[in-house]
Point group: C2
């Protein structure tokens, strides 16, 4: 008999995917260049030439059996070492290769992190607004995801609501900074507060509470500011990274899990990742991709287009009267809709070929997400549609 | 709290890995060229040049955002279509792209297949001798793997023992032909018998029983013979393939799941694979690797060395008096040890720097595996050690 739970998931289709498919269909009618498709978070900048050059050189020059051979169970040691050194230099950490495990992107990283620190029935808390894929990631592991309501003033953490939901079954807290969908970066103050609170609760419950920190947008930060590194604030942090956005290579499926060296049994945790991989059939990301990122740890794609787009959109939204928190990173913005029902708001926007995603599935009804990983030229052309939409639907009566 | 089950797995270390590590250590003392390391099943032939050329050309010529972009949820349609057409041409099937799902190697394929057709508590039967990794693959999904004893005369299926273990909770049967560790290819007669038996049991139990067919060694067949394709014999077949061996690219992590078009809800099953991927964090194999194999579906590495090695080893083992079934494919041979305890036999072999793997973990005590994916020159040099080992340990008294 076919497994029921996966069949049921199919009927609950992703809102983002559906809107993206609508945009593609609409594009066939009026030309995709005329659809202001803010639905999908796909990187829209070129891959750094150095990354491409590295891959070509390896394919041309290296022994094919070595380049395409099996990775060891714990992934390629030299790659793990290079990642550890890079993190130590950038964030003042003291990782060794024994704290790093290479994975197939952030989804793979989170799949390992969850299984590492929870058993079926345990709870994981996350904070709205949150990436809706966290639900299948956590739920299908057997653990249970519960969502703390948003602190809508600034999309930092709503500590009162958090405290109301905290309980002894919570084994991990899952954060995402810079945040999809809000674009907000958790401040040092937020992370200090979070750390103090989790320390207190660990003491109270007599067990570890791990911070699973999902950081694929770490390199997309605006206004010249740096992003506070959560593991600098809390020892029991499992950092989940993906190069999908910083190198613009989501199809390559490459990232890492980094366990804070101060975690009890930190090295054991990485060895356990090797066993988790056997159980879920990962068995290492593509070897040549591991090797290629290790040689491009300081490379980043030209991410400046995202800041340019943020500036244009934020200014326009503010001038049109939207309530909106200014994103400090990512390629998302998360304004308040002009009516209570964001689903209805986004439906009306379609008339103007503006594809916006309602905030409901991000745990934040009444808001909507725009993914501005598109050409600046198109962002500029979309402003007129945005103005007409607001004027005709919300200012005409 | 760290998940107990993965910690426990660490204490049950793989026998194969331990022997391989021993061989590496021993190599540091006497030179690895002097260690006759038959432990690991790592391909030992060059990657076809056409595959390398394809990757280089794509990296050089194609748009980087397209080449490194996200795969769709169900993996790249053009790749799925090419795989379907290739299978149809070679095996007279009628797959469409809707029946193909690209995965990260055979481990990924099996991880999806198991979750597709079982729920926790269901049983999967497999046949000794079997690949020991099937245990973590199945057990960690929540299903239960039970092993049917071997038919040691020819390592085809022991149908009497199979019948004795069959019951209503069995939702799938997992086979591996050509087989690791025996090198045996299931005959058309075996597959016909298996099909008839499973049809009867489906009728009796009133539910489907799926055949999960793990076929990474399909292209390594000897004596000019072809390998019967299990899906030609049984409709409810889920074929799991990996290019690790045929293209010599185990580090690239690339394979597919092919659902027989006659399966009830065959297309739904592939859609469910997309949902399973979300739950276990796969989210598609590396996109450029998907694209590269699609352009090399008729390429194979020069696999002739494996047949040469098979001939040398089989003849020598027979002349030394071993009871051994002649492998028809793979790069394994699985003779009977010269004493009842194969662990003791393999331990003694170490004195002669022969690294052999006892059959116990393959579900077949008293036998041992030799993985002859090594240079022919080394196989030839090992014969003297093999002769001395047999003479001094088993013929001297």
């Amino acid at each position: 008999m076919l497994a029921k739970k996966y069949q049921e998931m199919l009927s609950a289709k992703s809102v983002i995917r559906s809107l993206s498919e609508y945009a593609t269909e609409r594009g066939k009618q009026i030309g995709y260049e005329n659809v202001f498709d803010y639905s999908l978070g796909n990187p829209s900048v070129e891959v750094p030439q150095s990354y491409t050059d590295t891959l070509i050189a390896m394919l041309r020059d290296e022994n094919s059996m070595a380049l395409h051979g099996y990775s060891p169970t714990l992934t390629i040691p030299a790659v793990r070492e290079a990642v550890a050194e890079n993190l130590n230099r950038r964030f003042g950490m003291n990782y060794q290769k024994e704290h790093i495990f290479m994975v197939s992107g952030a989804a793979g990283a989170i799949a390992h992190a969850i299984r590492l620190v929870t058993s079926p029935g345990d709870e994981i808390l996350t904070f709205a607004p949150f990436f809706p894929e966290y639900h299948p990631y956590v739920d299908l592991s057997g653990a249970c995801l519960r969502v703390v309501p948003a602190h809508t003033e600034d999309f930092q953490i709503h500590f009162e609501a958090f405290d109301a939901m905290m309980n002894e079954r919570v084994m991990a807290v899952l954060i995402n900074t810079p945040n999809n969908p809000s674009g907000v970066v958790y401040s040092a103050q937020t992370l200090q507060h979070l750390s103090a609170y989790l320390h207190e609760k660990q003491e109270e419950y007599g067990h570890e509470i791990y911070l699973i920190s999902d950081e694929p947008y770490r390199e997309i930060a605006f206004d010249g500011k740096s992003v506070p590194y959560p593991a600098n604030y809390y020892e029991n942090t499992i950092t989940c990274y993906s190069w999908s956005k910083s190198l613009s290579v989501p199809g390559d499926r490459i990232g890492y899990v980094a366990v804070h060296p101060a975690c009890p049994d930190a090295e054991l945790m990485i060895q356990m990742c090797g066993q988790i991989s056997r159980g879920i059939g990962h068995n290492c990301p593509t070897a040549m991709v591991q090797l290629a990122v290790a040689k491009n740890l300081d490379a980043v794609a030209d991410l400046s287009v995202y800041e340019t787009n943020r500036n244009i959109l934020y200014d326009e939204l503010v001038s049109l009267g939207f309530t909106v928190v200014r994103p400090a990173g990512t390629f998302y913005i998360f304004p308040k809709a002009l009516e209570e029902d964001a689903v209805s708001f986004c439906e009306k926007a379609k008339k103007y070929d503006l594809i916006l995603v309602p905030g409901d599935s991000f745990g934040c009804p009444g808001y909507f997400r725009m993914a501005y990983c598109i050409d600046t030229e198109k962002v500029e052309r979309s402003l007129d549609a945005l103005r007409r939409f607001v004027r005709e639907e919300y200012q005409s009566s």
